[in-house]
Symmetry: C3
Subunit: 478 residues, 3 copies
Amino acid sequence: MPAKKLSTTKWTLSPDRCFDVNPTQRKVARQIYGTVKDLPIVSPHGHVTPALLADPNARFGSPADLFIIPDHYVFRMLYSQGINLAELGVPTRDGPVEGADHRKIWQVFAENFYLFRGTPTGLWLADELTTVFGVDEKLNGRTAMAIYDHLESELAKPEFSPRALFKRFNIEVLCTTDAASDTLEGHKSLKAEGWTNIRPTFRPDAVINLEAENWDQNIQKLAEVSGYDIDTYATFSQALQERRAYFKMMGATSTDQAAITPFTERLSGDKAEKIFSRALRGKLHEDDAARFMAHMIIEMARMSVEDGLVMQLHAGSYRNHNARLFKVYGADKGADIPVTVEWTHNLYNLLNEFGNDPRLTLILFGLDESTYSRELAPLAGHYPSVLLGPPWWFHDSVNGMTRYLDQVMETAGLYNTAGFNDDTRAFVSIPARHDVWRRVTSNWLAGLVGKGLIDLDDALEMAQETSYRLAKKAYNLA
Amino acid sequence: MPAKKLSTTKWTLSPDRCFDVNPTQRKVARQIYGTVKDLPIVSPHGHVTPALLADPNARFGSPADLFIIPDHYVFRMLYSQGINLAELGVPTRDGPVEGADHRKIWQVFAENFYLFRGTPTGLWLADELTTVFGVDEKLNGRTAMAIYDHLESELAKPEFSPRALFKRFNIEVLCTTDAASDTLEGHKSLKAEGWTNIRPTFRPDAVINLEAENWDQNIQKLAEVSGYDIDTYATFSQALQERRAYFKMMGATSTDQAAITPFTERLSGDKAEKIFSRALRGKLHEDDAARFMAHMIIEMARMSVEDGLVMQLHAGSYRNHNARLFKVYGADKGADIPVTVEWTHNLYNLLNEFGNDPRLTLILFGLDESTYSRELAPLAGHYPSVLLGPPWWFHDSVNGMTRYLDQVMETAGLYNTAGFNDDTRAFVSIPARHDVWRRVTSNWLAGLVGKGLIDLDDALEMAQETSYRLAKKAYNLA
Amino acid sequence: MPAKKLSTTKWTLSPDRCFDVNPTQRKVARQIYGTVKDLPIVSPHGHVTPALLADPNARFGSPADLFIIPDHYVFRMLYSQGINLAELGVPTRDGPVEGADHRKIWQVFAENFYLFRGTPTGLWLADELTTVFGVDEKLNGRTAMAIYDHLESELAKPEFSPRALFKRFNIEVLCTTDAASDTLEGHKSLKAEGWTNIRPTFRPDAVINLEAENWDQNIQKLAEVSGYDIDTYATFSQALQERRAYFKMMGATSTDQAAITPFTERLSGDKAEKIFSRALRGKLHEDDAARFMAHMIIEMARMSVEDGLVMQLHAGSYRNHNARLFKVYGADKGADIPVTVEWTHNLYNLLNEFGNDPRLTLILFGLDESTYSRELAPLAGHYPSVLLGPPWWFHDSVNGMTRYLDQVMETAGLYNTAGFNDDTRAFVSIPARHDVWRRVTSNWLAGLVGKGLIDLDDALEMAQETSYRLAKKAYNLA
């Protein structure tokens, strides 16, 4: 930080943050947390680009490049208060903003940093700025430029390169998310260098969602990389399986899919061919895309049974709700809004085909918290194949985690959950996110001990599981 | 109170009520609350009749008139336990109960006051009786008559007139709710006397809901007051805009609407004309009313963009669920039951037309708490036009507020909410209701401080916002 | 326990379990709990087989017979972690597993007992093992056989017969659940012996659900026991009424029904006849079963108005979700998964016919917690006939009860609820389940006292109500 202090109050985070105010519970929480806080980070699902680590010379850019411009968690809050995305340097579909003044962007962000009070993004940013970068004054309009200078100078140092931070963060394994047609160049370089702890994840959304933007180009690309001439459903299916095998060879242990609804339905081969053929001809009937998706979710389960890749399913986000913004700026601009999700009826067909199969691991993620206790926990608490993923997206927060633990654990039991994953594209936020999970779960376990529902031995073991082991086990990363 | 004490235990409310039991959190809650408890009351949405304040000689009537007969929060609980509305003096559609014995009504109420244990109504009543009226013995069958005597004698005093209490309550501004066809006589008198802090709110439900009781009479009335011959949709729309202008001139800063669902859909001018014409002829097709409402919600947003009135939307109450009761007693008899509400799909059309427009402020209220974290907070946390109203109706309670704060704030952020409004027709309950909000939010902030998630400086500022400033800003009452 | 200690740590449950960690609240909780913990148990709804008590010589069998083989709460958790039901001795449709090794079953259970950490089943089992059977070492793979030996020797003693435990458990009244066509042999014997505190409950699901397994055989059986030739809807309805009268004569005070949705709709007599006739001929149209159920729910209310039996309705469980398991093992194998439930629209027809009738008591149970505050509490807080049953099934847990109290009580008020019922088929778990309820409600009341929302006098009275009196009153067991 700059030599001249702007304020006498240092910006520090409480070492007891996220713990209950009650001193008895807090003491036990501290004790439990002490046994997990330094465990290596297992990050089995997220959106960090492999290029960041594949290129030894990669750097994070300016403070605005690092913290604001690419992070829709950050700029959607500023946007909601009337600040234009242009003012924040957010690139449009036409490309990055030419000559954007990153200091000006940072100033706007700092002046509005109070908007993040009490939010998870605010908590992560505070942790990143103070713990990772040693900022010691609260970010606001007055301190903005001094902090910018400080960050800029730190980011220039080799110890703040992505690879240096990867090491400092003690990340044992990091899984990225990659399109089915991706050639995994970054992963190839990493492999060539001998890295084995950065792994791809197979994500076929762009080709199995027949209404995806540029679906035909995506299919074309898939055809090229797979070597299959994709002119039928059968060749499409073969191409997918070939790509899964390739991803697996490159280190992948899992796949991922997003769907607005987890509706599943098996189509006859003939029906699947007809729909796929209409898609190729650009002549989809009304519910073709929905039925094809429903079929492909089951197909992904079938392929998982065959090749052993763990299957992830994220359901319930209405993508790009703000059509005007989407037209100018494209996807992932903070305008994805959750909807209700129905799991019990919708997964029936998939689970009755593969739910009892010991070869399948299906990890479910949702944004409709009303399903935690009603549907998800009972499903995970019965089907051998089903695990529940951690609280997702908006619910990856102190209260979101607390609700999840409250509503899921009594019915599903801890051992039918998949530990934590950070699901982030903001690499520098990874330790902060895992730390919140470790704190909140330690505090939850301390509460169970305090209420006499488990003993401390149980709590200490459960903390190891939920901070570290369950994720490794669920994703076959052991 | 009567000279002769009926009991040795005084009825007092804890000065720390609503605060967490933990002494550390309680201490901070007390400190925060101390900075907001005496702030003026901003009441931007409610159902107090302006006549109560427009007439300097208005009085509250008997204790039964004040606390029981007009308050469906009170008599619905008694009704649920088998007490007839007739026994409580509740007027039927034919008018007030002739010769009702208000002492007898009070006796029944007092004997059953235990039913309100742990309910918000019980808490408000206790606060009103002790704080406003100085009752110092617990209300029950034994103390009923002595308390009745005391209240009767207090109510006769000039310092218990509505205007005197308005002053004593330190109400900075009070907004009423008024039908689109209302001539605002009360508001006219108040304005003539120089009052500027009692404002109307434009509520067009009775004319935009084509299935409203007496819709044709309502339209007739609207035609009369607006001077428009309403024989087409176009003239109907003009009449509405004229009335909005009149309300604005009379001090209104906002509108309000209720809908069972927030479904929005733009109709073509031709389609709107056809439906409106069928309504005038009493020949509605099956979904005419629903589609017209969907269209008019967007139209209200358009008019707000043009005239600057803040738009409120209350969704999800199934009105008059008890058809037999409705037939005899009419509306607002405690038989309105909430239903699920879907916001993400339903508001899509409105938000894509006006959601990014800086001229629109749309405040959303719902009774389906499962939408807090799933839909409402993400919408408010993205769209510049959307704010969330405070917990509504059944959820205007200690736990209801706590759930709201828990489920909304992390995603929406405090600054995308609209502070508090009491939404009451029970004028005397206004301070009690605001006090519960100030207590619960102070306690929530103290919890965030205690858990190390914000610092005390932040908490003190946030308390000012949520107790006072946000409501003024949201409703343009600054 | 065996003389030789396997460990130095004794397995004891905290006397303060389920109470808040805060010492102030805990102290009050302890005080309140002290006044209710020894109250007699009123168990107005459950699934204990009357045979267990009707036969003075009945015994519980082996530890595996008692704790594992018949309890789907237990084996569904083991199944979810990949343990086959066969390995656990769970009988298939073809009958019990021949020559199952109960020690081996117990060993598997003990090795996996950690899966129940933090679950209600884990808490009940710990209470049963330590409190009822005096086990004093934690159950795990190492202690399994010693504990098995101990249990086996205890179970052989006369003081561990069902009747002895019934007395020891201080059960004032126990209601069983019995098919409409049941001849109530067990109840007859008990009556003949002079028992008056074990009562049947009339459950007509197997005959009113036209799609029930073996519906025609069920109807045949109903015809036989009622003496009616059931060849029309009219005779069917008469047979039901005759059976209700018989159950009432045998001590029943209530009926019970399960439905996936509480949809209600009155059919004309002609329509009902037509559907019933199609059912008899095995030629159901698509929604015949759903509409007939909707009609019969109203009919059950009508009959209740006439004969005074309290009506229970359990809605929202998708039974036998795992079709493969169902085919081999039959019903009640831990594969019932909840779905969303809508009450407001669905109960409209029933409530408008009978909701205001003082002769009807309708107790509602659901698994969709999002309806607690949205629909159920408002319905119970208005309609004189409606009471809310306690948290059901998955939600019969510390957190489930806490959510129920949080979300129901402010709107419904305590007095519109029906106290507790254990709903169990595991006889030995009855005291443990009632104890959790008494602890959690005592703690809830202590919280209200601590937060200054009720006083201790209120709390003590409310504790009596919810632990004992409300259930007796709701079920007419006074």
